[in-house]
Symmetry: D2
Subunit: 446 residues, 4 copies
Amino acid sequence: MVLEICAVGGYSEVGKNMTAVRYNNEVIILDMGLFLPKIISYEEEEGSREGLTKDDMIEIGAVPDISVIESWRMHVKAIVTTHCHLDHIGAMPYLASYYDAPIIGTPYTIEVLRRILKDEKIKLKNPLKVMTANSKIKLSENFTLEFINATHSTLQVVMIALHTPEGVVLYCNDYKFDNHPTLGKKPNYDRLKKLGVTGSVKVLIADALYSSKAMKTPSERVAREMLKDVLLGVKNENSAIIVTTFASHIARLQSILDMGTKLGRKVVFLGRSLEKYISAAEALNLISFSKKSEVIGYANRVKRKLKEINKNKKKYLVVCTGNQAEPGSILRKMADSTMPFKFEEGDHVIFSCKTIPAPINMANRAMLEEKLVRKGCRLFKDIHVSGHGAKEDHRDLIELVRPKHIIPSHGSLEQTTPMSELASSMGYVLGQNIHLLRDGQLLELD
Amino acid sequence: MVLEICAVGGYSEVGKNMTAVRYNNEVIILDMGLFLPKIISYEEEEGSREGLTKDDMIEIGAVPDISVIESWRMHVKAIVTTHCHLDHIGAMPYLASYYDAPIIGTPYTIEVLRRILKDEKIKLKNPLKVMTANSKIKLSENFTLEFINATHSTLQVVMIALHTPEGVVLYCNDYKFDNHPTLGKKPNYDRLKKLGVTGSVKVLIADALYSSKAMKTPSERVAREMLKDVLLGVKNENSAIIVTTFASHIARLQSILDMGTKLGRKVVFLGRSLEKYISAAEALNLISFSKKSEVIGYANRVKRKLKEINKNKKKYLVVCTGNQAEPGSILRKMADSTMPFKFEEGDHVIFSCKTIPAPINMANRAMLEEKLVRKGCRLFKDIHVSGHGAKEDHRDLIELVRPKHIIPSHGSLEQTTPMSELASSMGYVLGQNIHLLRDGQLLELD
Amino acid sequence: MVLEICAVGGYSEVGKNMTAVRYNNEVIILDMGLFLPKIISYEEEEGSREGLTKDDMIEIGAVPDISVIESWRMHVKAIVTTHCHLDHIGAMPYLASYYDAPIIGTPYTIEVLRRILKDEKIKLKNPLKVMTANSKIKLSENFTLEFINATHSTLQVVMIALHTPEGVVLYCNDYKFDNHPTLGKKPNYDRLKKLGVTGSVKVLIADALYSSKAMKTPSERVAREMLKDVLLGVKNENSAIIVTTFASHIARLQSILDMGTKLGRKVVFLGRSLEKYISAAEALNLISFSKKSEVIGYANRVKRKLKEINKNKKKYLVVCTGNQAEPGSILRKMADSTMPFKFEEGDHVIFSCKTIPAPINMANRAMLEEKLVRKGCRLFKDIHVSGHGAKEDHRDLIELVRPKHIIPSHGSLEQTTPMSELASSMGYVLGQNIHLLRDGQLLELD
Amino acid sequence: MVLEICAVGGYSEVGKNMTAVRYNNEVIILDMGLFLPKIISYEEEEGSREGLTKDDMIEIGAVPDISVIESWRMHVKAIVTTHCHLDHIGAMPYLASYYDAPIIGTPYTIEVLRRILKDEKIKLKNPLKVMTANSKIKLSENFTLEFINATHSTLQVVMIALHTPEGVVLYCNDYKFDNHPTLGKKPNYDRLKKLGVTGSVKVLIADALYSSKAMKTPSERVAREMLKDVLLGVKNENSAIIVTTFASHIARLQSILDMGTKLGRKVVFLGRSLEKYISAAEALNLISFSKKSEVIGYANRVKRKLKEINKNKKKYLVVCTGNQAEPGSILRKMADSTMPFKFEEGDHVIFSCKTIPAPINMANRAMLEEKLVRKGCRLFKDIHVSGHGAKEDHRDLIELVRPKHIIPSHGSLEQTTPMSELASSMGYVLGQNIHLLRDGQLLELD
């Protein structure tokens, strides 16, 4: 029997990840993500995405075009996802209801999804099911689902091992190999190794995003040390300290909280998305920020707090949204002086992130930085390491699991061809057991 | 009376640093460095620099052109240096004898200088004097010399505070502010602050090399964490591990030794310059590598050792010269298979350095990397942080010492103008109290 | 007696050029320009600049801060400008009335200024006087004004030779040396040479914008050839052809018109600023576009015309505003489908310009290009050569006129230091006869 | 019956192009090129490539690895090539004799090959046959060969249309679409169009080198205009003028000769490879340089000539080898002062080429330029347009010939994937009718 893999989304762009696996009239969907740039462009021109239907969203390219698996619709047994980032779960509010199947993720992933649905006032018919890392469950006659613990840049990230009669489909989007994570456990190398030794991996679908970088992606521990250096190694006793980072990066937020505490400052997290990801983690007892800090999501309360902070800057360390200078983010409003906070000569602004290299982000960031510098701020940028593995992570993964086939994913040819080159150097052959797919393409194995 | 400052070298290029300070018929020389690219180009074309005289060396641009201070010759009271790098002390073998004055440096600096002189079979007439960080000595009627502890990328680096009747000349070439050094002490902020509070700094001469970078240079602790990640976080139990870095970077070597020990491997340092800098540090009891590792300088012994290592690669971690792929370095010879060592698929080569961005270095490194990759090596590059401060280090320094005048140094206008911009943003004015000098120019203060 | 030169604007940024020259209680102002990025940022946030006063404009950094020459106010004898670009004349509507002095420029420059004033409904008290290239006039007791024909990227550009008792102030902002101009005459080398031979140039103030580029800026003839290649050398008989370029670049527009005619297409110029610059040139009989083409400025007529063109695309060649993808420009509206024009697969869009490298421009252009590509357009970009001289132009200028002093202008240190390096290599000395000024600084000569 | 295409070389690197086409026990070989970087590296380390056998050359990667078509050896009916560049014909001296088949090329290509063979003292058993552009010949039972006139950067370049029972294999390596060539004829669009209209092209193998560049490659006319600008538009009456360019680029050499004549200078071509390509063209009466200029190949005569030129520089325009600063080239020797020529302040050196972006070339060029600048030369660089088409050339080609299949060639995935993207945007599908091959891979069509 034939194993079919459909590259629904994320194979012609970096975003809207979605892959469908079919065997003998049973289908499993892996991820269902948003393509954020299309949303942002749309909102900039139209004001809001409210009222957009599933078909509108497909039309503007914001979610995967599921018409390519229309004939599979009735056979979908489950929608499974690896972690809570929007390019993996963000299309669920628009597309999941189209399938009569449960959504399965780790507890944190599902908790975040719940909050997104609540925020957007969307009710899905799909049951939401949680499953922990390093566990297994039979999904249907032909499919058994296994979650393998991985490391990335948010909590409870897994690799998906989908067991089929034809072997395992190993779906590794997104991951890096971090042996010194600052929160959570190391990747489950033993399980990966066992899959490799038994020769059971039929096909590896892997995060090629940074496969062109001839390096190993550094551990989150390195980012923590960079943060420490900038927060505890620069004269800042008389300055405001503002830090911005990715809201879902709980380990990073923990490091910032730890440093702030060491500095004897009160740490305050400001912004709706920060509140969302933090409260989800607290609800599951994964962290306890509230005891040592304040977490404020609502705009009015943020305003009131900033007014208070403004009177006594040295006492606080502010963590806020705005790492990409997004319109509506707290840091952007502060820079535009539409918040009751006044920057002064020598205030510190720390970007614990990288600018996502889309032109609109780069322009937004450049303009934000210029405003901050004009106000006399000292900027500390790129205090960050990525959550995506690079060439040497991928080499280790391939060697560990020894797949029969490799499908580079998470990007267009620009991202996927370097992974193909890597695999070639390890003995695989393009067109034979390396497969470069594009959105909408179908691959049949055997 | 007038304080005169002559920019002898290092103000029109990155290299051959040398500054002379004159007050009332007394002169102090600060640094006397080599411009390495000129040496390398010369050696590549002519084979060797042996037999080159002082005037030849000036002619080819390899050492500062001291003719601009010819009339000051008889008044030189001392030649003082901040640390042992060749762009600061490397011209001494050629130029120092021309002056009837002692050479003064920290113990490690002088120890290294002694070994260089011995290696090159040069005898200087100048007395070599040591002085420790955070101490002071009267040099002449008008000059008192003070060493202030600093952090950089080798041992016992100081800032020089030269006290004159017109105030202090503070010479800060090279430094960064590292609050978490892995070897040696933090910068002496208290002393700098006191100089600032008392308003005694007449002029600051400061390392502008990276003043265009809008950041604080990370602590050496960050490099240590990066090394740890690459050495303890990647599958390497069956691979050779070769690390190359700057030979004088003792703190980095210490970190590598520590990690090697943790891996249960025997650490072996190979190469003449590694042996020179390590043995100098051991002679002063600053480190004790010999107990835990082997340090081998002579070519024949290096060869013999590599033969031995080749039989049992998994037992060793090799640290060797060749971070810039210099001709004659151990790593280059290994890659060219002129050493009894055979790289195998999966061997690790770690570059704990950055490529110095001269075209010849870049070509050498690119060719070396290609050979290593062809042999199946896995490369880990840029496992490094710089020893030179960046914009935010310099801002802190200027704020601490509040100089009346600023002379950006350690480079041409490309390097010095960003420092001028920084100082402008802090209230200084170009042409008034910021002075952009070029090699050979003289500045009179008051 | 002392010659004083005040760097009022354009010495700390690329824009708002303004220099004041004083001798014995007489002052001449050279240029009075806008800094466009500040206007654009302001308009983006506030909607419009209407109602902004002179002081507001200074406050937001959009025009030169003339407070630095407040004490010179009553002594201003003339405001002179080299050409009609906004960074040279755009501040006149806001600042000129503050001085009791005429504005002097070439006929085309004054004609354009008149139209700007009319558009913005501003009446200046200053008399507007025209003077042709290669003529001379006595302005006051100490100053005689001479215009020397130059080449740049619009019509009737001159270098200003301001004769004073201390020698000539030669002001060369903006220029390149084009020996094969496609419209207008070659630079007046003979006059420059004569100034050099007689040793009369006291100080040269020169356009340093591209002095870092180790080249000669190519002739406009090269751009014409590039245009020809793209318009007459690509299959386009069934496609719409849209070209966008700088509205004031009449020579370029002429080339496009010529090619369009050769293609047998009707050429149509669309957009307010195109209409302004073209009609000014026609009023002076410098060109006669109207005979062979249509020039349409008003929005409603543009719309009607596009509707017509849309029905029969192959018959037309459209030249329109929007080369920087500015909001409100015709090309941007066309891409946003707010114009009655529908792009089809294979339509040609030619950018005969370069993107001005400010982040907002780059983002705007990137987004515009993406939209056009999505609609199936074929893009032809950078069909352009600059109007600003580069290193080898400047070397020729300096050698021709042999000035006693050099002041690099038209930019911040990033632009001016390479000119300083060039002058250094020709024997000048920084701080002695090369002067790096910043906005607001005053230089006294002798 | 099946058409087989083997990607022998040039599909995993830019160089050593070679493709083999098989139908029913008949094989045609297209191109047989060198990979120059491997030769250069080898020669730098070993001194010379003399004595290297076919197998050595394959081993070091300098020529295609023909073992992949070993079983086809006896079936080869012809070795055909498109033009005389070494990456297309340079492996013939090493590999052609291995096949019992004639070599077929245009007259100029064959003439150049003859001279190479004579230079290297190699005798091939293969008959050398000439065939003109836009002609056709039956090669064997299944294959008919057609040459279609194309434009590139040397003389008599063709596209190969190989007619088979399964349709035409159209081989377009290398080409650009130049509608205004300065020497030779325009591409034969009519023939291409006819192939398209009749739907006869089974597969297009096309030069993907610059398919990532969103432009049309400019016409050679543009390069001529750039040259004219630099030679006739800069003050140079008292300077030496040295021009370097690619030796086989006869049209460029013609332009230089024309400009030199216009300047009233005696043009002298110096260097062995210049002499080779020029004399080959003269032998075929394609040009007549010798009448108006001197062409000198032998080292001793070059030396003598330079001595003469050195005495009276203003009278000459020197064209010499060394555009990549190759060791042994005339320009490099001049810069190293090992030629009897002394550069003086203000001498012009014009690089009518681009630096091929391999690290060793970049280093060589950087060092050469530095030497020339130190000697006071004025450099004019990148006076050049490429001979390889870009994205918009390829779009036109695909639209013209409407192939059933597309194989991007002339490079590795970095080069070939953008061509794949272009084809995708035109409706082709990767893996279906777009085929990304790597060296050694075989493709079967139907």
